[in-house]
């Protein structure tokens, strides 16, 4: 059933290329003002999903609606109200930063004066005002991303599709962009679909996450909800001063009340149902002459859920995760 409040909704959305299915039966809804992360490795179907939603590609099966408009039929109207930052920034090297933004603004129907005023305000916000009239040719990846972001925002879109908006940015720029996205959603009610490899970024920004793998939606929901569905209990960080080896992980995982154990950079992450078992676990570790520096129960993160859902199949390009997964729990779509 279509959700009246949904700004983005897909139903059984499917598209392939030359016999390979890129998006396979995708069904999801995104509410107004929500920031949703589309997570998955290269080839998961994230970019194809964005193209389908904007009516750039036609589906083989299923439907999608953005702002209540049918993507296949009303693509033009959708594109007038959305902004897209593509993965490669998609800037013309031979034009200046300002010219790149002005071209898109003019195509979107803004007057030249208004477009210039808005572009300059965005460049100032992204600390690019001093380079607005330089050709993009010599720009770094981060500078290109900032110009692309300015271009996608110049018409004040209602929905933003951001394909890897912070890849190539330095930490300061990443923080600025992240804050901007959060502000757009929080204060201006903008809806954001964020395709990203960076789980930490998604974790900071997003209300809900959709995990795609080979075109299929494996999980969709809030990280804590998904975690609750994936496993009972709590994750606990054990700081052992070094990464736990396989032998130790096997031993800890077999202790009573422990449902799983994975390596972490400082030791291990274990899953327990009842915190009452913690003293016994610590005593057992100390009994084996293992130093325990800290025991920190914490809520499940996006990383935990991602690796649990994908079974650690990260395609070699998911960043900022602990990396070992929690055993491939499988599909968790509401």
């Amino acid at each position: 059933m279509p959700d009246a409040a949904a700004v983005i909704e897909t139903d059984d959305l499917t598209r392939g290329f030359r016999g390979v299915t890129a998006v396979d039966g995708l069904t999801l809804q995104v509410a107004a003002g929500e920031v949703v992360a589309l997570l998955g490795p290269n080839g998961a179907g994230k970019t194809t999903t964005v193209r389908l939603l904007n009516g750039v590609l036609s589906p083989e099966r299923g439907t999608s609606r953005v702002l209540g408009l049918d993507s296949s039929r009303d693509g033009h109207a959708i594109r007038a109200r959305t902004g897209v930052v593509t993965e490669t920034a998609s800037l013309d090297d031979r034009l200046t930063a300002m010219e790149n933004v002005l071209t898109h603004a003019r195509i979107r129907g803004l007057s030249i004066d208004e477009a210039r005023r808005r572009a300059m305000a965005l460049f100032e916000r992204f600390d690019m005002a001093g380079r607005a009239d330089e050709q993009v040719q010599g720009f770094s990846t981060g500078q290109r991303k900032r110009v692309a972001l300015a271009r996608s925002l110049v018409h004040d879109p209602e929905v933003l599709f951001l394909d890897e908006p912070t890849s190539g940015l330095d930490p300061d720029a990443t923080r600025d962009v992240t804050e901007l996205i959060a502000t757009l959603a929080r204060e201006r009610g903008r809806t954001v679909l964020l395709c990203t490899h960076f789980l930490a970024e998604a974790g900071r920004l997003c209300h809900r996450m959709a995990v795609l793998q080979r075109g299929r939606l494996l999980a969709f929901g809030r990280p804590d909800e998904l975690a609750a569905r994936l496993w009972r209990g709590t994750a606990v960080d054990l700081d052992l001063g070094r990464t736990a080896d396989e032998h130790l992980l096997g031993w800890v995982g077999a202790l009573e009340g422990v449902h799983g154990a994975d390596a972490s950079p400082t030791g291990a992450v274990i899953r327990i149902t009842d915190r009452a078992v913690l003293p016994t676990i610590v005593a057992s570790l100390v009994g084996r002459d293992i130093t325990v520096y800290a025991v920190v129960p914490r809520p499940a993160t996006m990383e935990d859920v991602y690796f649990a859902v994908t079974g650690g199949d990260i395609g070699g390009d998911i960043g900022d995760g602990s990396g070992d997964g929690l055993g491939g729990i499988g599909q968790v779509v509401p």
């Binding site: 009516g55 590609l57 998609s90 090297d93």
Partner: protein
């Protein structure tokens, strides 16, 4: 159907033309080839005819069809070379200019946009496929015709000036040249573009498009060269007919190209 969105079309044309102007790899051939053909060549011919030993081309003229050769044969010997080359033989050769310029620009506008990965940004904009196609075609066609016409004006001035001591009159433009410039050259520009639009749909890079297009464009250039060497002499009716045929082929190619210029198709090949 929907009306054209002229501001959007103008924005795309402006973007493409601005980008082209800043690309030396595109601008240099667009300047050098017309300069050689339309300034250096008529200068050399004019200077050769002004010499005391101006070449005797009577034997060459006698082998040409009577209707074509007789008006030239009636001229003084030192004027014959100038009128034959600058008045007639250069006209078909001149068509290399619109053909080359439009092919290079169309390859940049279509395949180049894919290669630079800038096409996707355009596809996500509220511009219809048809408007985007027209804008891209205009961005190649208008400069190609402009370069041809400016080159031809320069040619006319140079050829008349250099030949003045021999001709004692401005013998250009001729009616044949007028047909070539106003009718055949735009047709040839459209043809070069039509070919490159089709080729660019398959090519992923400008180089690939140029190579694929070369297989089609080069034979046409050889045809033009063949014309200029007297294999197929151009007279007014022939020029009009050739222009008409080229227009039909070009418009058919462009029409087919437009129907295949869809977001889905382009996006699927990116």
């Amino acid at each position: 159907m929907s009306r054209r969105n002229w501001p959007a079309i103008r924005a795309v044309v402006w973007k493409d033309v601005t980008a082209i102007r800043r690309s030396k790899a595109i601008v240099l051939p667009m300047v050098i080839v017309p300069a050689l053909l339309l300034i250096v060549l008529p200068t050399v011919i004019g200077l050769a005819a002004r010499g005391t030993n101006s070449p005797d081309i009577s034997q060459f003229l006698s082998r040409l069809p009577h209707g074509f050769a007789s008006p030239i044969q009636r001229l003084p010997q030192n004027q014959q070379l100038i009128v034959l080359v600058n008045g007639y033989l250069l006209a078909p050769l001149f068509l290399i200019v619109p053909l080359m310029v439009s092919s290079v620009l169309a390859a940049d506008a279509f395949a180049g946009e894919k290669e630079r990965r800038t096409l996707e940004g355009l596809l996500h904009l509220p511009i219809t496929e048809r408007d985007l196609f027209y804008a891209k075609v205009a961005a190649a066609f208008v400069p190609a015709v402009a370069v041809s016409w400016i080159g031809w004006l320069a040619f006319t001035v140079v050829a008349d000036t250099v030949a003045w001591p021999v001709m004692h009159r401005a013998f250009l433009p001729t009616r044949l040249w007028a047909v070539v410039i106003l009718w055949v050259a735009p047709a040839v520009a459209a043809l070069g573009m039509g070919i490159m639009v089709r080729v660019s749909a398959r090519a992923k890079t400008t180089q690939e498009a140029s190579q694929l297009g070369g297989a089609v464009v080069l034979p046409l250039i050889f045809l033009a060269v063949g014309q200029s060497t007297g294999l197929l002499l151009v007279t007014m009716p022939v020029a009009l007919a050739i222009g008409g045929v080229i227009w039909v082929i070009a418009l058919a190619l462009l029409s087919r190209g437009a129907s295949r210029f869809t977001r889905d198709r382009m996006s699927a090949t990116m």
